[in-house]
């Protein structure tokens, strides 16, 4: 069994009217099966409302499935006694850095997680320093988080999760509120944690460019997994992605249009460098 395994996971939101009667049920996640191996970098793509965040929240037991089961590192998330253990092993980074920073100083904020785990004080400091160092934020440990840029705040949030020594980190649209520079900082940090620390990463996003380095991509639509494969496999299917209200990276788009017009260009071009090499061959 992988580090994250979902078995026919279904999550229903129940809508109620003013009197509290049930007025409708929305299946945000509908019988989803995924199996993530330790050390993998997984991306989940989908338009707003496709169910990707609802799925993610079930991986660290913020939500538990209406039906089906989620296992994190072999632990069943719906068992209440596992909740804290699950959250320690699968950390989560959210969209808005301002909603997840609580400390007066950067180092206090990062220390909050391990402190709650009951780690002895000297070890907390060790973990705080080590995490901040990994994210390139050690110089800011005595700063107030309020004065940092969005990308820096998000890196502090990641350090806070990292200090709990998780096996896996789920990023729920971590770059949606950042500028291009901040986005690069965060994605670089996620990739480094995967490469160097071998932490399993689940990245939820709707920026296609951020997913091209993942091992596998899942595309969600209406609560289902609509597509699954390597970035090359996924981005070869330009029309299908557009049907699912998702774009493709612009290099992929240009390559696809050229191919459609009859040029001998292969599917699944992801970067402008690849496109340039292909054009060299046929121009």
């Amino acid at each position: 069994m992988g580090i994250i395994k979902t078995d026919k996971v279904t999550y229903e939101y129940i809508r109620r009217d003013d009197e509290g009667n049930v007025s409708g049920i929305t299946k945000a996640v509908d019988e989803v099966n995924i199996d993530v191996q330790p050390g993998e970098f997984i991306s989940i793509l989908g338009h707003n409302g496709s169910g990707k965040s609802t799925l993610a929240k079930q991986i660290n037991a913020i939500l538990t499935p209406s039906e089906g089961e989620v296992y994190v590192d072999g632990l069943l998330t719906s068992e209440e006694k596992n909740t804290w253990e699950v959250r320690q092993r699968a950390g989560m980074v959210f969209q808005n850095p301002d909603n997840q920073i609580i400390g007066q100083l950067v180092e206090e904020d990062v220390g909050f997680g391990p402190e709650n785990l009951g780690i002895p004080t000297d070890q907390i400091w060790e973990r705080v320093n080590e995490s901040l160092k990994l994210l390139g934020m050690l110089d800011y440990s005595k700063h107030s988080p309020n004065k940092l840029s969005g990308g820096q705040k998000q890196r502090v949030s990641i350090a806070g999760v990292l200090a709990m020594h998780p096996k896996c980190i789920i990023f729920d649209e971590p770059t949606a509120m950042l500028d291009p520079h901040g986005r690069r900082e965060v994605i670089r940090a996620a990739r480094a944690l995967n490469d160097v620390e071998k932490i399993t990463i689940v990245l939820i996003t709707h920026y296609m460019e951020e997913t091209i380095y993942s091992d596998r991509i899942f595309v969600m639509d209406k609560g289902h997994i609509a597509m699954e494969g390597t970035p090359k496999e996924i981005f070869s299917q330009v029309e299908k992605l557009e049907e699912l209200h998702l774009g493709v990276p612009q290099a992929t788009k240009v390559a696809h249009e050229l191919k459609k017009a009859g040029m001998p260009i292969p599917d699944g071009i992801l970067t402008r460098q690849e496109l340039r090499e292909e054009l060299k061959k046929c121009l």
């Binding site: 338009h47 054009l279 060299k280 121009l283």
Partner: protein, 289 residues
Amino acid sequence: MSMTLDHVNCIYSADTNHSVHALKDICLTINDGEFIGLIGHTGCGKSTLVQHLNGLLKPTSGQILFDGEDINAKGYDRKALRGKVGLVFQYPEHQLFEADVFSDVCFGPTNLGLDRKEVELRAYEALKSVGVDDDDFYNSPFELSGGQKRRVAIAGVLAMKPQILILDEPTAGLDPQGRVEILELISHLHRDEHMTIILVSHSMDDVADYAERLIVMEHGSIVYDDVPGEVFKNVRELERMDLGVPEVTYIMRAIRRIGYDVDDTTTKVDDAVEQILGLYRDKNRKQDI
């Protein structure tokens, strides 16, 4: 109805030891019917600048003239100004507050002191123009999707019938489909309703397809003010400012570098495809001969 900024300076917390010079001697004219992209890295002063345009912030020195009148002069009707210069903030959906969509959109025009009938007519037209279904008019705005909420929030500003519409990062946090919808809506307001548009963004890709004039800011000053093609020639400088150029422009530059004569200021996918296909056909024709 042009707007002119004459040597505008803005200093936050002036006279303290942590003062910030957010706008430095800005001189700028915004003409009727323009579509301007205002671009810059976080903290460059672009949001500060637009908050000066409808009188939310007062310049530390310098003047802002709307239709020839100083908007910060004593006795100037700034309330009326805010109806004429509509500002859609970042994440405008965070400011929705009424119980239903229709009432929320009525809020702005009601405050302009219009009579009930006119308010409702305007709210109806505004909601229609942003593409909100009649069925959703009496739903709670909080039950809508992110993209829909944002459109309702924009309708709230449109209902005041502004002549200049300023949008601060209107596509932040939206998925690709939602992003295109909002940008198409803005483009329609410009093209068909002849509204002057100022689109504030840090994404070159957002502004490149739509804006007719690009203003690039850095450290409180205007660095470039020109048509997009001209601005995108300064790739090195733009990269130093962490802005870069649209991905398509990079692609065309890469092709030019390997020796093909393409226009490296191209910003649109269709144009790029057209040019590359042209090269391909030329080559095949030569081979045939």
